[in-house]
Amino acid sequence: MIPSTVRTNLKTALTAITGLRVMDYVPDSTNVPTNNAFAVIGQLSMNYDYTLNRGFDSATCNIIVMVGRMSEKDGQSRLDGLLSSSGSTSIKAAIEADKTLSGAVQTLRVVSASPGTITSASIDYLSYQYSVELIG
């Protein structure tokens, strides 16, 4: 498993969602447009030696998705669409559409999504943190 390839291919998978701006690195600052969403592919947490003889490793990747300001109804609605387990705006469906990430891993699964807020420039943004388990 090559972390940079995994991150790049996760980004590619997420760009299938219309209007979702995706970064495969953690940005210095955020600028979330109204009625739009923003995803950041986080660092990989690696667990080595999933199988014998340096066969495969496992990893967990956190993806942070945020939308407009906390008080905005549109932002909450937008997050509901991203949170759905299926459909054209589903984060889970977009990532799991190709469970090998074009051959970068053996398999993956979007395990969970936890709500929260992220503060940037004194503005609270609605967010979800997704956890993706990868084997490869």
Partner: protein, 134 residues
């Protein structure tokens, strides 16, 4: 050789190395304890009987052609040659290989759960076990 990690074991089935699909492997060498306790014995007395060794593995399944599923499923009821080397690499006196013939008594082609990769946990009886140092 000193204490070593068990994460470099070579698992060779026939001519195919499947180490990268195996998460755990253990070769259990065992002989039956045959009781020969006589009337005048005050404790149970035993001698070693025949060998009943076995190999246990946890294997991540793969249905690709010539991959692990076909290796085992196609041989159910038959014997397969399996070779283990403690640390992948050259076989020496301090890194001996164990070659054996295993009767494929079981296989788990489907092992589904919502939160883990498909895994077959198997134990096969072993015959013709030989240890080599070169």
């Amino acid at each position: 050789m000193a204490i070593f990690m068990g994460n470099k074991v070579a698992v060779i089935v026939g001519t195919s190395t499947i180490s990268s699909f195996v998460s755990t492997v253990s070769l259990n060498r065992e002989v039956e304890a045959v009781t020969i306790t006589a009337m005048n014995d005050t404790v149970q007395n035993m001698i070693g009987g025949i060998e009943v060794s076995s190999i246990s593995m946890e294997i991540f399944n793969d249905f690709a052609a010539a991959s692990v599923n076909s290796l085992f499923e196609d041989k159910i009821g038959e014997k397969l040659a399996i070779k283990l080397i403690p640390v992948t690499g050259t076989v020496t006196a301090t890194n001996p290989s164990y070659s054996m013939s295993c009767l494929i008594t079981q296989w788990t082609p489907i092992s589904g759960s919502t939160d883990s990769a498909a895994l077959a946990s198997v134990t096969f009886p072993v015959t013709a076990l030989t240890k080599a140092t070169s």
